[in-house]
């Protein structure tokens, strides 16, 4: 019996000890009329060898293309050691460190992770992670509503330059609590929030302003001006950032003239977590010290034991659902522990210089691809603005068929913006990371050139 160690003799001994003859007697409290028949729709079990063959076939049936899609998930090189260590059984098969004395490894990893994230974000405190970047933004909004006690009516300014999936997920997670999400347009020339468009909210009761950096288009927002404007209105600032980029870009804790943002959150995936079709990733969240009791999720703290030795434990648990139940800061229970363990190892391995190099190289290669593609007739950059690591290009034809053709060349050419941003026409969001060589960029450019000139020929 797969994964069940019992021998026939042991089963009989155990049944005798309990005082029943048949295993099924143990289910006698389930009303008979509710019992189900054999689940014939489910196939019989497979051996490990058979399931290996099945899964190798499934994994092998799709080619691995050159990927130039970013849009919230980024392909970076992950050192071999990262997941080899993270999947050691002692990390992999442990649970939430409720028994701190027997979980010092997990707890110290979380403490180190929190330390690294507060360094990257230049913020006071970090939690142990949330589910992903989008749900972290939802949790950040709920937290801002709790933390901004001056605000009487929960209203959040949400720029249209925030990832459309994030906006939708955040809305789905907060709407039941009567929170109003107000969309802020972007400047069509620059692809960034137009500070002038905020003027109409001056003097109003605004709970928080969300500022993405870089924004969904890869455009750099004028974060200092926006942060100062929000604070002047009595609004909190929620930064939604790619954590890797803060190795070289000004971090949220240093935005504006006075003390930075209130909450920083985002997707932790770029820090050592594979693309893996969408997860598991993790959401990170940092905040100012004064808001720590409003923060959702687990937090590890440093303390001492009976003999005065340093040790680590979960702390501030009275915020959480298992204590406060309906009055908890969130219903969140687990975090994304294993992904955070991998990320901690990744950050330790790369260090400040390594992270800065990954970010800089990604940016450099993005600009290099931009130069190659905009040299093709009819392809141009959409926004006149500084971008980082991603950029929006306009194509002379509808994007979807071109992307489909690019896959024939082994290229996944980017994210088609025309569904989420019809106002941008035939626009494509592309991303390059340090994993792409100049030859890869040449290959993409040649493929696009060929597809566009073929289609011109067909048209004429």
């Amino acid at each position: 019996m797969p994964f069940i160690p019992h021998t026939e003799l042991e089963i009989q001994d155990m049944l005798a000890a309990i005082g029943v003859k048949h295993l099924d007697t143990l289910f006698e409290e389930i009303p008979k009329e509710l019992r189900c028949d054999e689940l014939t729709e489910i196939a019989p079990g497979l051996t490990e060898m058979a399931v290996t063959r099945l899964m190798q076939q499934r994994a092998g049936q799709d080619p691995i293309d050159l990927c130039f899609i970013g849009a919230g998930a980024y392909e970076h090189h992950i050192p071999a050691a990262v997941w080899q260590i993270a999947t050691r059984g002692e990390f992999y098969s442990a649970y939430t460190p409720y028994q701190a004395e027997a979980s010092q490894g997990t707890l110290q990893v979380i403490y180190e992770y929190q330390s690294m994230m507060t360094q990257l974000m230049a913020m006071d405190v970090s939690n142990a992670s949330l589910y992903d970047g989008a749900s972290a933004l939802g949790e950040a909004i709920l937290m801002a509503v709790r933390a901004n006690r001056q605000s009487k009516k929960p209203r959040i300014l949400m720029p249209r330059s925030v990832h459309p999936h994030y906006r939708r997920a955040a809305t789905a997670l907060v709407e039941a609590q009567g929170i109003e999400i107000i969309e802020i347009p972007f400047d069509p020339q620059r692809g960034a929030i137009d500070p002038a468009s905020l003027a109409q909210y001056a003097g109003q009761d605004i709970t928080a302003l969300v500022i993405p950096q870089p924004n969904f288009f890869g455009v750099l927002e004028d974060v200092d001006t926006l942060t100062d404007w929000a604070h002047k209105q009595g609004a909190l600032v929620i930064a939604q950032v790619n954590p890797l980029t803060t190795a070289v870009l000004q971090p949220p804790g240093a935005w504006g003239k006075a003390g930075g943002v209130d909450i920083a959150c985002g997707e932790g995936q770029p820090l050592g977590v594979p693309l893996a079709g969408g997860g598991p990733y993790y959401g990170f969240m940092c905040c100012r010290q004064e808001h720590v009791r409003q923060m959702p999720g687990r937090i590890a703290g440093r303390t001492v034991d009976l003999e005065g030795r340093t040790g680590f434990t979960l702390t501030l648990q009275p915020r959480e659902q298992h204590i406060r139940r309906a009055k908890a800061t969130s219903n969140i229970c687990t975090n994304q522990g294993l992904a955070v363990t991998a990320s901690t190892i990744y950050m330790a391995m790369l260090g400040a210089e390594g992270l800065a190099r990954v970010a800089a190289a990604s940016h450099q290669q993005t600009q290099a691809l931009r130069d190659r593609l905009t040299a093709i007739s009819g392809v141009k950059a959409v926004f006149k603005a500084n971008n980082f690591h991603e950029i929006v290009l306009q194509l002379p034809k509808p994007v979807a068929p071109i992307l489909a053709r690019l896959t024939d060349h082994g290229v996944q050419g980017g994210f088609d913006l025309s569904l989420d941003y019809p106002e941008l026409g035939n626009s494509l969001l592309i991303c390059v990371t340090e994993t792409k060589t100049n030859a890869d960029l040449d290959h993409y450019a040649a493929a696009l050139q060929q597809i566009l000139s073929d289609s011109k020929r067909t048209a004429s």
Binding site: L39, E41, A102, Q104, A134, H163, A176
Partner: protein
């Protein structure tokens, strides 16, 4: 040298140095730093963040990082050794029996990990075209089908990223259902007092008022109280069955009748699905929506506290509200359903497609179990729990509900032990660590005084259970003979009992470079 430090000649036990404290300025894991054409001189040589890099020359300086970044400066070996050693300061299923009640800490088959981590799966971008993702999508579709059958529901969405998010999705669907029908008066959700804390927290997040329903003396929901509580304000009830007390709710059909008659819906918390896999299905019990914890029942790793996955299954009437995305099959091809095709959906709960890597592991596990293996999970989880309960009762421990059959877990109450010797459930928990066993869940459910909630799972052998039972007996003996020694446990762990009050009062949640 103090007496205590003499115990600790093992470097694994004394090493609490942080990775930051291993730093040497200028050290680097060079194989991992991408080459970059000459980095210009740093304005502050101790701070690489301040370096002017040619690659960033197009960016105005005000966008660039101008504050220090103190990260570890260590070699690759330093990193590998540090985190390998930290891993050894943990209990885990792979190293220890871990009977944490309500968490289903069963063996996580290694094949599930290695097959889910094939490079072709890891390299797949979540927004890659469906035409290039058929292998992965077919696995996910097949898993949806398996979970649909096993729960007896009409449809499944895998997107919730944890049990608590599955709960949220479920309650949001119940809310959407009532609102779509214009029934805005249903603002109240019923939750039994034995429920997990996530249940009332979730109901509150969905904007509902929570009303607690008491448990009767036999452990079943108090039907009289339930009948009195339901009405036109009732949106639904959240139930775990078997309940968190480790017993099967025998009146479930009657509960379903009462709640449905009042116009409410039934939400099934799948925390304890392991107990009934292939025996009885939530859909057949009358539930309208169910979430599953794949990290429990389907053996995906708990990972030190996640990632989990919390798929939801729904009955026919809730189908239009399922969260997106989920996979549909058209002939021989698979694709994600678009939000446009599902106008009544509660929407998306994550940036992408849920915790795909977890879903793959669950799928592989489900395929290895097959239909016959699923029933065995319930059979042997239940056999193990009942065996332990019986043996512990014979040894003088009190079951919280002695008149009831245990399911896959059971609750003991140490109330009498506490009255006799002053021993607490916490003392048992800490002392068990010295015997090499992770503690059961303690002080939950809240209504059982000095509660130990014990869940052995089906993957543990009789010999392991017997060892745990012997440890419990030894600790009970110690509580009568040397309570002071017991109350100061553990003794064999990397640290002794920790000062949790200080952890809150002198909050220290990050390394500070200034110290």
């Amino acid at each position: 040298m103090s007496q205590s430090s003499q115990h600790n000649i093992n470097p694994l036990q004394t090493s609490t140095q942080l990775i930051f404290e291993r730093s040497q300025s200028g050290r680097q894991a060079w194989a991992q730093a991408p080459n970059e054409a000459s980095v210009m001189a740093a304005e502050d040589s101790s701070n690489p963040a301040l370096a002017r890099r040619p690659a960033l020359a197009d960016l105005p300086p005000h966008f660039l990082r101008r504050v220090s970044l103190a990260m570890p400066e260590v070699s690759e070996l330093d990193v590998v050794r540090h985190y390998t050693r930290l891993s050894q300061r943990n209990f885990s299923v792979d190293t220890h029996f871990y009977p944490l009640g309500s968490c289903t800490m069963k063996y996580n088959p290694r094949a599930c990990n290695s097959l889910a981590m094939q490079p072709a799966f890891l390299a797949r971008h979540p927004l890659a075209p469906a035409s290039r993702s058929q292998g992965m999508l077919s696995c996910v579709y097949d898993l949806q089908e398996i979970l649909r059958v096993v729960t007896g529901m009409a449809g499944v969405s895998l997107t919730p990223m944890a049990g608590a998010q599955g709960e949220y999705a479920g309650m949001a669907m119940i809310r959407a259902y009532h609102r779509t029908r214009g029934d805005l008066a249903r603002t109240e959700v019923l939750v039994p007092d034995a429920a997990h804390g996530t249940n009332p927290a979730t109901a509150a997040m969905c904007g509902f008022q929570v009303k607690e329903i008491p448990t009767g003396p036999d452990g079943d929901v108090d039907l009289v109280a339930l009948q009195a509580a339901v009405g036109p304000q009732t949106a639904g009830i959240m139930l775990t069955n078997p309940s968190t007390l480790g017993i099967f709710e025998r009146n479930i059909a009657e509960i379903a009748r009462i709640v449905h008659k009042a116009g409410g819906l039934l939400y099934y918390d799948g925390a304890n699905l392991n107990a009934i896999l292939g025996k009885v299905r939530p859909g057949d019990m009358g539930f309208d929506v169910v979430h599953m914890n794949l990290h429990k029942t389907f053996s995906t790793p708990h990972g030190g506290g996640g990632p989990g996955a919390g798929p939801v299954g729904v009955s026919e009437r809730l189908l239009p509200f399922l969260p997106t995305p989920f996979v549909i099959r058209e002939g021989e091809t698979y694709r994600y359903v678009t939000e446009k095709e599902r106008p009544q959906s509660i929407g998306r709960l994550s940036a992408f497609n849920g915790n795909m890597g977890v879903l793959l592991r669950a799928y592989i596990y489900a395929r290895m179990l097959g239909r016959e293996g699923m029933v065995r999970v319930a059979d042997y989880a239940t056999l193990n729990a009942n065996y332990m309960l019986k043996k512990l009762q014979e040894a003088g421990f009190d079951a919280a509900y002695p008149q009831r059959r245990a399911t896959h877990e059971f609750s003991l109450t140490l109330k009498r032990n506490n009255q006799e010797t002053g021993v607490r459930a916490l003392d048992f928990a800490k002392r068990l660590l010295d015997f090499g066993y992770h503690a059961p869940t303690v002080y939950f459910p809240l209504m059982v005084p000095e509660c130990l909630l014990i869940e052995p799972t089906e993957t543990e052998s009789k010999a392991t259970l017997d060892g745990f039972i012997a440890a419990m007996i030894a600790i009970a003996k110690e509580s009568r003979e040397d309570i002071a020694h017991l109350q100061a446990a553990p003794y064999t762990q990397p640290v002794r009992r920790l000062d949790e009050v200080r952890a809150v009062k002198e909050l220290n949640v990050r390394w500070n470079p200034a110290n």
